[in-house]
């Protein structure tokens, strides 16, 4: 019945909460976690180093950046974790073999413009959306 199911759910929730609290004491947040936590890393893509100066007029390259790091419990505020990432973490803690952790991925992306020659010496100025990682977070 609905009543018994609700009771059962409450009992489950209580068990899960205990599990989570037990894990949280095991994985206390410390400085080593901070180093491996999900964050933005700087990476410069150089068109010049690719030998493309003859057709790319500008820019010489761009800071593309990338996201890397752990999305482990507890998801601290600086990780820009989505609400669902928190749920994902909890489910992962309950079933670590079957459910993956949240992913460290871009949360804010910026555009760049590229100016280049085509095969016919015409010049193209094109905006490319979502090319530069501005912020990373757990999803």
């Amino acid at each position: 019945s609905a009543t018994s199911r609700r009771k059962q759910q409450n009992r489950n929730r209580s068990t899960q909460a205990q599990d989570v609290s037990r894990v949280s004491t095991v994985t206390d947040y410390n400085s080593s976690d901070l180093k491996t936590a999900c964050r933005k890393h700087e990476l410069y893509v150089s068109f010049q180093d690719l030998g493309w100066q003859d057709w790319i007029i500008a820019p010489k390259g761009y800071a593309a950046n990338y996201c890397d790091g752990e999305c482990s419990f507890p998801l601290n505020a600086h990780m820009n974790a989505t609400n669902h990432a928190i749920v994902q973490t909890l489910v992962h803690l309950m079933n670590p073999d079957y459910v993956p952790k949240p992913c460290c991925a871009p949360t804010k992306l910026n555009a760049i413009s590229v100016l280049y020659f085509d095969d016919n010496s015409n010049v193209i100025l094109k905006k490319y959306r979502n090319m530069v990682v501005r912020a990373c977070g757990c999803h």
């Binding site: 007029i57 800071a63 100016l115 100025l125 905006k127």
Partner: protein, 273 residues
């Protein structure tokens, strides 16, 4: 390789920075080309002599570079790329638009892609009683990616000051779309735009060719180019070169070109690789 950290290697445990092997570099080039939506690396033909001095670009790439800088300034929140302050032509000539104009900036803000086209054909017809002096221009608009629609297009040509031979003279410069070419008589033309300019004027002239460009993108087989003619107020035909209009044989930074602003009209779905 092509990718390197913007600063000394950041604290990324377990992440090794190394120089890419040649096949890895090729793979990376392929991936970045794919990100840029290009099927292959463009190979523009080497520029014909006289080549511009190193570090200086011909008219069209220079114009596009100005647009690029305007876009970059806009992205950084430092608006006001087109605030005037450029030198005005000498009196009594009315001012000519600078490069790029405020109107170009407006088009630019709305555009997903801007493209300049080099003039492929230009030759002066012999003057006969039945045929006026004129210049012809042709631009290849057949390679536009699918889903891109022209929002604005301009034909740009530079005019030098010719005050010695045509003192106090006014020219009417007309630009036509060529509808049909005939072997033994003048082509069928459609008037697109006319500008009245003083002989003493100097600078870039812009002609609106938006509707024609749209038609050429959709029907490349109908692209028979543009024709330009110059007449005096009295209706006498003038050789465009004598009126100060710079053609293909002129200085590299004053050669005519066409520029078109595009906006994506369809949602692009990246194909499976």
């Amino acid at each position: 390789g092509a990718c390197r950290p913007a600063e000394p290697p950041p604290a990324a445990p377990g992440f090794l920075y190394r120089r890419l092997k040649s096949h890895e570099k090729r793979e990376m080039q392929r991936e970045i080309l794919s990100v840029l939506g290009l099927p292959h690396r463009p190979r523009p033909p080497p520029r014909e002599p006289p080549a511009p001095p190193p570090g200086r670009l011909p008219a069209a790439p220079r114009f596009m570079l100005d647009l690029y800088h305007a876009l970059a300034e806009g992205a950084e929140g430092t608006a006001g790329a087109e605030t005037g302050g450029r030198p005005q032509p000498p009196a009594p000539a009315p001012p000519l638009p600078p490069v790029p104009s405020a109107q170009d900036s407006a088009f630019l803000n709305d555009a997903d892609m801007v493209m300049s086209f080099v003039n492929l054909v230009e030759y002066d017809k012999e003057f006969t009683p039945h045929q006026q002096h004129h210049k012809e221009f042709k631009f290849n608009l057949s390679q536009i990616p699918e889903g891109e629609a022209v929002t604005a297009a301009e034909f740009r040509i530079y005019k030098d000051c010719v005050v010695e031979s045509f003192k106090n003279q006014t020219f009417l410069i007309s630009i036509y779309q060529v509808l049909q070419e005939h072997p033994n008589r003048a082509s069928d033309l459609f008037l697109l735009d006319t500008r009245a300019v003083w002989a003493s004027e100097e600078g870039w002239l812009e002609f609106d060719v938006t509707a024609t460009s749209n038609m050429w993108v959709m029907n490349p087989q109908h692209n028979m180019g543009l024709q330009l003619s110059v007449v005096t107020r009295d209706g006498f035909s003038v050789n465009p070169r004598e009126a100060g209009l710079i053609g293909r044989d002129g200085p590299y930074d004053k050669q005519p070109f066409m520029v078109a602003f595009f906006k994506v009209s369809e949602v692009h779905i990246r194909t499976t690789r």
